[in-house]
Amino acid sequence: MESMDIWGQLLQGFATAGTPVNLLWAFVGCALGTAVGVLPGIGPATAVAMLLPITTQVEATASMIFFAGIYYGAMYGGSTTSILLNTPGETATMVTAMEGNRMAKSGRAGAALATSAIGSFVAGSIATVLVTLFAPVVAEFAVKLGPPEYFMLMLLAFTTVSAVLGQSTVRGLTALFVGLAAGLVGMDQITGQVRYTGGVPELMDGVEIVLVAVGLFAVAEAMHAVLFEGKTVESENRMSRVTMTVNDWKRSIPAWLRGTFIGAPFGCIPAGGTEIPTFLSYAAEKKLAKGENQAEFGTKGAIEGVAGPEAANNATVTTALIPLLTLGIPTSNTTAILLGAFQNYGIQPGPQLFSTSATLVWALIASLYIGNVMLLVLNLPMVGLWVKLLKVPKPQLYAGILIFATVGVYGMRQSAFDLFLLYGVGLLGLVMRRFNFPTAPVLVGMILGPLAEAQLRNAVSIGEGSAMIFLQRPMSLTILIVIMLIMVLPRLLRKR
């Protein structure tokens, strides 16, 4: 695609995203995203899932702008919580939280919040430029891919999401196959064969993605809270003025840029997850820091240790839209649900999206620029407002989440049966949470499973019934080798 063309399309996108109604959707999305990011027990995936019923009423462009706002708004809000709240047990697991939380403890909460919000803005904006420039190119390339290549790409996504990213390969794979099994329920897309409905008419159309997402996250979270977190005592760090000194800026700017360039590539490849890039950025900052600054790591809290990982996080999350929009491959919980939202409109993200739904895609991309500016305003001067959300008492918070869960699940299909199923999925999520099974493979498997199955069948048809087709085409063979490598290499490295 010509560069002038991209520019023209983007301007067109701004024209669509800039209408008062769409601006309002973006703003409400960003505000809601920040809120769910701040609130413990509810994340962007849950929030978007609960609101999926609006896809039956609201026009596609508006609701995708809205969902995207929630998606990256939650990234801004999430850091506020990890900096200010001392949740025992949880802070140590998140790299981003470590330094920010330490800074807050030594009275520098304001600077930590500022570097995190501005860093998110810088990284989000740069990554959006990358999306603008590269998504059309990838789409143009992806048009040439056939079913064998697509199937291999999906296999790659399954592998990375389940076997590579998590702590345990077996638990990751178990989660993936549970998701694939959930995706099997209902009528088969190609032959119309009914599978695993057990004669229950409600299951003919399959299991709703809303139900599984809300059950695994929101309901399981509430159940976990009532069972195990009753006596957990949280404390809140004191706020200080949200500003940065000249020295803070000097230390933050390079860290933001490094974080962005570490994070951005990770979103582009169908490997998902923000854990690896944020950790890499943290390690890089710790290594590069000198003298007194380095001594602050792990003690008083070093500002680079907040700035870098926060930027890496936002860059990854933003560029993850490239595989989602151009290949239709989700690599995280939230992008899986965004894919579900597209499907509700009968739109299948993929290379054709840029030609068939150009208005929608470019409005969505333009809204990312607009949303990042909105979020900077929402999170810098108004951070005090969001901090108040941390004071919502837990019983009311989780009980309230259950009400919203009901709206999402019942609103989708108007079936009380789904609410019983929701309870069952909640129990499954509780067990998974207690025994450290990852949840992303379930959702990715459930959404991508039926698509992968269709691609597999088409591919084998092309090969006239032979699976050799996957080895005969250079591109699909290459991806297959990549899959093998990422399965084997980490093991070999660990052995040494």
Partner: protein, 172 residues
């Protein structure tokens, strides 16, 4: 109450999870038996993925059991040693199941308010800081209605989403 040692990861429970996965795999395999294989030109019929999933899950289940028996799962998040509080869980479960059973009869607002009330009770008891008595119940009822009713109006009136009401008025 008898003092307990702090709760720890139990290999016994982990093995049980593995057995659960294995049972699921067997169930799926049993179901796959009845799915016809009419593959046609595709070579891959509608029963291919079901078989693949059940076999893979079976293998995962066996691995989980083996890991549990050999000293337990690795890389587990640390627990804070808290024993599960089943009474609170029962309150929450009652709230959710009653909600599912009653939503079409008493309408969204009251059904959800009831769910909120029971779940919040369980969570309050779990914290054991609840100022027991009528006051906290009343407070929860008020909060429940203050959330459920506006949510109902917002979703049905503004977003046009169909949620069940108690009356035909559309407000309750």
């Amino acid at each position: 109450m008898r003092p307990h040692a702090p709760a720890q990861h139990s290999p016994y429970l982990q093995a049980l999870v593995g057995v659960g996965v294995l049972l699921l795999a067997l169930g799926l395999g049993f179901g796959a038996w009845f799915i016809p294989s009419n593959a046609g030109y595709a070579g891959v019929g509608p029963n291919f993925l079901p078989w693949l999933v059940s076999i893979a899950l079976g293998v995962c289940g066996l691995f989980l059991i083996r890991k549990a028996r050999r000293g337990g799962f690795l890389h587990m998040e640390e627990h804070d040693g808290e024993h599960p509080y089943w009474a609170g869980f029962a309150w929450m479960s009652a709230g959710m199941l009653l909600n599912a059973a009653l939503i079409t009869r008493i309408g969204f607002v009251f059904s959800c308010a009831l769910c909120f009330l029971l779940a919040a009770r369980g969570l309050r008891n779990a914290q054991a800081t609840a100022s027991a008595g009528v006051k906290s119940w009343l407070m929860d009822i008020v909060v429940a209605l203050l959330i459920a009713a506006p949510v109902y109006w917002m979703f049905t009136k503004f977003l046009g989403i169909n949620l069940p009401g108690l009356t035909e008025s559309g407000w309750l």
